[in-house]
């Protein structure tokens, strides 16, 4: 499985990496902002999941999600952010994220959300086929 981690904090990306490694064999692609993420998506086809922070320099996570959804409607995206207001969650869902994790989160909570999201995405693909 290939997962794209987009967060300007390397510490946070490491936390996400180590947490998700416990779920099995995972290949990670990392980006420090939205622009880097777009480049990474082009360079690494076949990404299975994206974990995206909201507040980042150069291009924020919300803009990134909008840009990704212009071309790709299916790859699951989880917004993983400190933005906890309901309006922000709704904005993100409207932009096309599949799930939303508010910081602070426990590793278990993150693993659960990732597994839920992947299972749901798999179910949707199966239903479409």
């Amino acid at each position: 499985m290939k997962i794209l981690l987009v967060d300007d904090s390397k510490t946070m990306r490491n936390i996400q990496k180590k947490t998700l490694e416990r779920l099995g064999t995972v290949e990670f692609v990392e980006a420090g902002d939205g622009l880097e993420a777009l480049t990474a998506i082009a360079a690494h086809p076949g990404i299975d999941l994206m974990l995206v922070d909201w507040n980042m320099p150069n291009m924020d996570g919300h803009t990134l999600v909008c840009r990704v959804r212009e071309k790709d409607k299916t790859t699951p995206i989880i917004m993983c952010t400190t933005e906890a207001e309901k309006t922000r969650v709704i904005d993100a869902l409207k932009a096309g994220v599949n799930n939303y994790i508010v910081k602070p989160f426990t590793p278990d909570a993150m693993s659960d959300k990732v597994q839920q999201t992947l299972a749901k995405a798999k179910g949707a693909v199966a239903a479409a086929a």
Partner: protein
Amino acid sequence: MQTDTENQVHHAIELLVEHEAGEEHSHYDRSNFLFVEAGQPIAKLAADAEHLIGLSLKNVNRTPEGMFVATVAGCLKADHAHLWVEPGLRVAGNVDFSSGNVEYKGDVCVIGNVVDLFKVNATGAVTIAGTIEAAEVSAGTDLTAKGGIAGREKGICRANGKLTAKYISGATVEVGGDVQVLDEVSHARLVCGGRLKVTHRTIVASHITANGGVECANLGAPGAGAKTIIEVGVDAQVRKLAQVTFPAVQRMRHKAAQVRLSIEPLMRDQKKLTVAQRERATELLYQADEIEQEANDKDKALRDAFERAQAKRSTEIVVGGKLFAGTIVRLGELEQTIDNTADGPLTITLRDHEGTQQIALVQTHSGSTRFIGGRPVRDPEMDAMRQQFSKAA
């Protein structure tokens, strides 16, 4: 350093493998062996040598470009007519100043002795055709000491698998599996994860801990010499692991709890948290989780080791010849000093007698049993493991 290999090599080839340069080694560390990995280029055709008449290759391929590549990992050998890689390392003589210490990924066979102060360390099996003197030998799997172990109180031998030795004298020996000794075990500290068999002679003046029980011809010696202590049904290596693991796990869990406690005020009212506090709280939650995970992993490793040891556990000592007075026997949690010399064959075992468990001497032929009581031995680590890990618990 010039080696025999380099001196004798065929004139038409040039070796590409050199001894490791860099930091100064002691004379003991100067190895005379060239170790190569599978696929490693080991030699090339000399510029002026178009033909290689009479050079035979073994475990080596020659490429069209004139390179020689090892097909297996091992020890590179060359002489005037041959270039080959031995899959295991064979030391033709002693491990001494002529060979240096031996450090090898794979099996090692030493035709001579391992002399005082030298070391042999291999990830595979180690066979010493001669004697292991006051040296240090470690085998990743089995260790065979055909000429015996004469450690003169300084020798140290370790094997993760089995040990077979002619005799063991004056050495500290730690073995994960079974131990078979043909002659005598004397003045030794022997820790054995499996069963110890001393088939022909005596265990004397030694401290033995054998998880899988002991079989020997004679046990102890007449007169008041150095004590013979035989402890069975206990895995000393697991006990040692428990001594390190229990306090470490406790420390880690305490630390994880402290970290969680430090975030608790923040987590109570998350709406008031700043962005920086949210990021930091996530980091701390992860840190606590990681410490907890590490503690769980250590705990599981200890539990697995304990369960493996339990599967091999036996609290029986079988004596074929004589059991001498003065020998101290520890079976599980009971200890006793043998009061009278007894003739075998007999088995020292645990039996229920008058409502308590006691140490008993059972004669093999007649079946007659003599109970010799037993004082409880304090063994906090083993007790703690039994309490925490026993399936019944």
